[in-house]
Amino acid sequence: MFDMALRSLNLPGVGTKYEFETDKGDTVAIFFTKTGAIQMYTLQKGCKTPSAAEMSPVEARRLGNILTGAIIEADQESVEIAFSALADLRITIHTIFVTAAVVGKTIEELQIRAKTGATVIAVCRHDRNIINPPPAFVFEEGDAALVIGESDQIRTFENEIMVK
């Protein structure tokens, strides 16, 4: 997976450059500039002039999430982390707004882990984060839950627990 040649280069006064050529011969170059902006260039094989886009760090992270294959919807966002060294282990972290089906119930009551295999690792309530909620934690309306698991487990969680 990492046999493509990734070149990284420090350009004095400008920042750091990462560049690699794809199997098909296109070139992608990313520059982390000193001003904090991130510029991405793509050069199609056989072309002379690249196309460029400048991104803020937040935008660049979003692009990164999209590229790793995570699903991003308007209000839900997930990050998939792939560990190539561990037999291509893929872990997805997904945010989801609680539905009426779970409001007023505890994590234990819903049997989230037993039924789906996914785990609720944090809940965001009124801009405050509750990390590692205990089994007796009661969901309230407006909560956003952060769930970790494999993508199948996340899907089961969405279909069976957070019934709309």
């Binding site: 350009l11 006064g13 002039t49």
Partner: protein, 380 residues
Amino acid sequence: MEGFIIALFVCMVLALISKYLSVPAIPFYILAGVILGKAGLGIVSSNEITHFFSEMGLIFLLFFMGLELKLERIIADPSKVLVSGLIGLTVDMGIGFISAYLLGFTLMESFIIGAAFYITSTAIVITSLVENRKLMMRETETIIWLMVFEDMVLIIILALLSSGNQNLILFFAKIALALGFMYVIAHYGKEFLISILDRDDELPILFTFAAVLSTASFALFLGIPETLMVIALGAALATTDPDAFEQHARPFKDVFLVLFFVFFGVTIDFSGNLNWTIIAIVCLLAIFSKLVSGMLIGLTIHGSAMSGVEIWTNTISRGEFSIALAVLYGSPLVGATIATMVIVTSIVGSFAAKYSTWMRRGIVSHSRKRALIHRPHTGR
């Protein structure tokens, strides 16, 4: 003092306009100074306070340059950097020096003009490369290393000019001593320096300011040029945590450097016996000589005249370092010449850098069209 406030306010408005138009602000700051100062309305005059601020601007500019000089930096292809650097040095410095001498400047004045003529504005060049989305071009690396080479030459020029009539052995012994002292502090005090920089109170910024200022005054006390010493301080501190130092020194540099440009403009006197023909010739040659050096570098390094044009359009702008030389060593006549050259080349240069993309695209799409006409079925 009112003049000072007016100057600051004008700069703020100009900075906004230049950012909005995405053109370099340096020529506008100098022009503002010229208009407000001696040569123009005469509202703002230079005095001890403004002189102090300007000096701070110069010192912080050079400190930043030092921070960028990471001595352990790996150069991908040293011979290419050396070849392109030497072409730039001989062509630009040569044309600048010889033409200034032929135009009637003294030998010393010609040397200063030649050096100011040679040194491109790193700030304008790099900002325009980023803003015009040119970082991926293969010429960009060549241009960036050209800037690093020019910085090295500038240090040598500063050392040569500031040695003056002193005993050279004693002079260089003192410099070596001060350099050694700084490197010892940076080396053995590394942990301590980093622990100070990591704090989130006022200490890091206070420390940075004090280190730069005390180095400058220590240099004055020893009788060695403070310009060289602050560059050396930057280079020594770059071995600890250069990013942190940059972050803490940036506010000082940003404010003082603007004042440095404005008050350089204020002191310019266009009323003396200036020969505008001579100044115009210098400006035109400044643009032309970069075409010659750019072409030669493009042909030797990239084997293409198009690359030469690209290098030329991106290296026309002269700026902060040319002005620094004018402020440090220039007579009023040289100052006025360099000021005009910086204003003209930086404005022409910023438009050339922008226009070169369109021009390149035009040529590329033209040749693509031609290719399509010749082989209509192979095109996309």
